[in-house]
Amino acid sequence: MTDQTPVLRLEGIVKTFPGVRALDDVSLTVLPGEVHALMGENGAGKSTLMKVLGGIYQPDEGQIIVGERPAVMTSPLEAKAKGIVFIHQELSLAEELSVAENIYLGELPRKRFGLVDWETLYTRTNAILEKLKVRFDARTRVGDLSIANQQMVEIARALTVDAKAVIFDEPTASLTDAEKVVLFDVIADLQSQGVGIIYISHRMEEIFRITDRISVLRDGTYRGTLNTRETDEEAITQLMIGRKLDLSRNASHHELGDVALEVRGLSCGRLYQDVSFEVRRGEVVGFYGLVGAGRTEIAETLFGLRDPSSGTILLDGEEVQIDSPHDAIQRGISLVPEDRKGQGLVLGMNCRDNMTLPQVDDLKAGPFVAEGSEIAIFDQYRDRLDIRTPGWKQLVGNLSGGNQQKIVIGKWLSMHPNVLIVDEPTRGIDVGSKSEIHNLIRELATQGYAVIVISSEMPEVLHVSDRIVAMYSGRIMRTFTSDEVTEDNLIQAISGISGDNRDKVA
């Protein structure tokens, strides 16, 4: 392998933003026909590096070499013309247009007078679609396709040019197992044609299944490249976070209180069905499952954001109907939502106002907001959660992800809820803040809060939970106590045990 000419080399790339050195002397070499994994924590610089490669950012130092020629990328289109193709994580499709128009977006074949050459367009597209073995044709409107099929359209874009290197950015996030198999076939196919592939993913299992080499970034620096066959998860994790991950189980067993929240036979249309569980005071219940298993939707129902189609919710043994978040808050339920920037914070508001937002009606001096008590609340939770901000006047949009998340948590702790639901509490947060938040969740439980933690990260669920509810496809598969649970039986539960549950290809 080593005597081949690399299809793509990044050499000594440096990229700084005001105050941050986002990439510091990063190098990466992709050989023809290899699948090269790029790994690193969120914020390690993976996406910045890819943006440099795609010409969205210009590097301050270093160079990009495609084949044997140094290249200056000025736009994604130019990168594509040089044979570097990106498959984006977020779908970047125009739903109203046909599959063919999306695949050839920006490069529609033309006839005279700027007319679209539909015939060529459809012929070429159908040839590509055939390779992908999908069951829709070039004229289908993209908006009518399932998410997974839309992802396939995205992938089809890579096949329109004579690609030298293809970058897959978390391509499997929304794919079913069957669709993953097709995707991996496509990758193998590209590989056999001598295309180099950069594969960005957090899913170790995939990494070990399809990649040849793994390069790791941490804090914008290059930490090394390993041969996949000669390494293991632990070694990679250590490179990524610079120390061993604390995978210890939650050991503390304090006295549990009464049942704070009980749910019986709750269903919400096709989102989830017949869900029953209970949470006691002083207990942390983890909800684990794949994206789309219905966990977030249960939380949203408990918070009054969805109307259940059947079932009952009991708070302190009393049956309640929760119509709105306002209602939920009155009843002592708090939700730290999944999407911090979209649902958790008003980014253009300052830290204090964000933190006191749910209770601003109660903080009054005469007709006005009592700013003194607001600042007192802010100061209290800033100290308790160790929020790093120059002051309460700072706009939350200017804070780091970890500090933003702490503002959201502080906002809900200051409501003194009976039931606290946290959805993906550490998504996109650096490792340090991560363990702080884990400790905080444990501490809250010992203080008698009933806590529900929804997470897609197994170590996190194992670490913080007293009990773990495993969900698959809208149903609770099994509830584990922390003594019963092992990584294996948990994984089995969330993938629908095994066997015949491959989702139908839509």
């Binding site: 130019e78 970047s92 125009a94 920006g106 529609l108 009518d144 109307d307 189609s309």
Partner: protein, 333 residues
């Protein structure tokens, strides 16, 4: 049948269903209420309806393409007025005195050029400053109107050229000149949006701007071209109308933007861009004109027309939302 097809069909056909309903209603109601002896569904009456739809209709075609692009243009009324003044006034310029009736194409060209340039100015500002098109054209709506007044103060600008009037009042194959212009504008923009690379890119830009930028499509020139098209069409609309009337008041074209946007929205174009059809816009234009004429036919006055159109616009919006709702499972935010 794929899911969503039914609601799509319903939405595509809705405007034509609405037109049929209007026709039935006014025909029946006309029998009982009509002040005139003529039936509503009279051929002459319908031909007139097409002709009267032209000024709003021609601009609405341009508005559709601008709105599909994800922008909006509030300055069309003022552009319309300026172009009209250029049209009428240029025919009196001593420079062209020797041309005789040859001045007509020159005046037309000047008017159309004016509209196109004003549109280009809007487009250029939106493109280069990054200020929202709503604000840019809100500003130029005031600014262009100011230019109208600066031209001739508060006096009307008049010039009647009888050759021109004859041309404008002519009927070819039974249709009025203005109707022909409306049909040609509709066909041309339809062709532009459905058959050309520019048109398809415009849909893509309105639909998913990030994707388009990533695909290397230059958004700015496309936006600018669309503003030039709507400026051109506003001028064309003025050319068609004022060739016949021969006199323009500085307030002419006020509130046109509202009528045009109403027609486009009735036709189902999404406010956020990415979706809309020229044929449906044509339906929207007809529906509005039919409503105006129909209400007049059954003896209602302007006030009722305003009231009814306003409420229908809101009702359409409401129905559209109900059709798009995903059922009870939806997140209540």
């Amino acid at each position: 049948m794929q899911p969503g097809t039914l609601s799509t069909l319903l939405k595509r056909g809705a405007i034509w269903g609405f037109i049929v309903l209007e026709l039935i209603f006014f025909t029946v109601a006309g029998e009982f209420l009509s002040l005139s002896e003529k039936a509503f569904m009279d051929v002459d009456n319908m031909l007139l309806l097409f002709k009267q739809s032209a000024p709003i209709g021609i601009i609405a075609m341009g508005m559709t393409i601008v709105m599909v692009n994800g922008n909006i243009d509030l300055s069309v009324g003022a552009t319309y007025a300026i172009s009209a003044i250029v049209l009428l006034d240029s025919m009196t310029w001593p420079l062209f005195a020797g041309l005789g009736d040859g001045v007509i194409p020159v005046a037309w060209a000047l008017a159309l050029l004016t509209g196109t340039l004003l549109g280009a100015l809007n487009g250029l500002i939106v493109w280069k400053t990054g200020v929202d098109a709503f604000i840019v054209t809100l500003g130029s709506m005031l600014g262009y109107r100011g230019l109208v007044f600066m031209y001739n103060g508060e006096q009307p600008t008049s010039h009647l050229n009888w050759t021109l009037v004859d041309f404008a009042e002519a009927q070819w194959l039974g249709l009025h000149t203005a109707t022909w212009f409306l049909l040609i504008a509709t066909a041309a923009i339809w062709f532009l949006m459905n058959r050309t690379v520019h048109g398809r890119n415009v849909y893509a830009i309105g639909d998913n701007r990030t994707a388009v930028v990533n695909a290397g499509i230059r958004v700015g020139p496309h936006m600018m071209i669309n503003f030039m098209i709507i400026g051109f069409l506003a001028a064309l609309s003025a050319v068609v109308f004022y060739s016949e009337s021969g006199s323009v008041n500085p307030n002419d074209g006020e509130l046109y933007e509202l009528w045009v946007i109403t027609a486009v929205v009735l036709g189902g174009t999404k406010l956020t861009g990415g979706s809309g059809s020229i044929i449906s816009t044509f339906g929207g234009v007809l529906a509005i004109q039919l409503l105006r004429k129909g209400l007049a036919h059954i003896g209602a006055d302007t006030s009722t027309v305003n009231l009814v159109i306003g409420l229908i616009l809101i009702a359409v919006l409401f129905l559209d939302r109900q059709l798009n709702i995903k059922g009870k499972e939806e997140l209540k935010v």
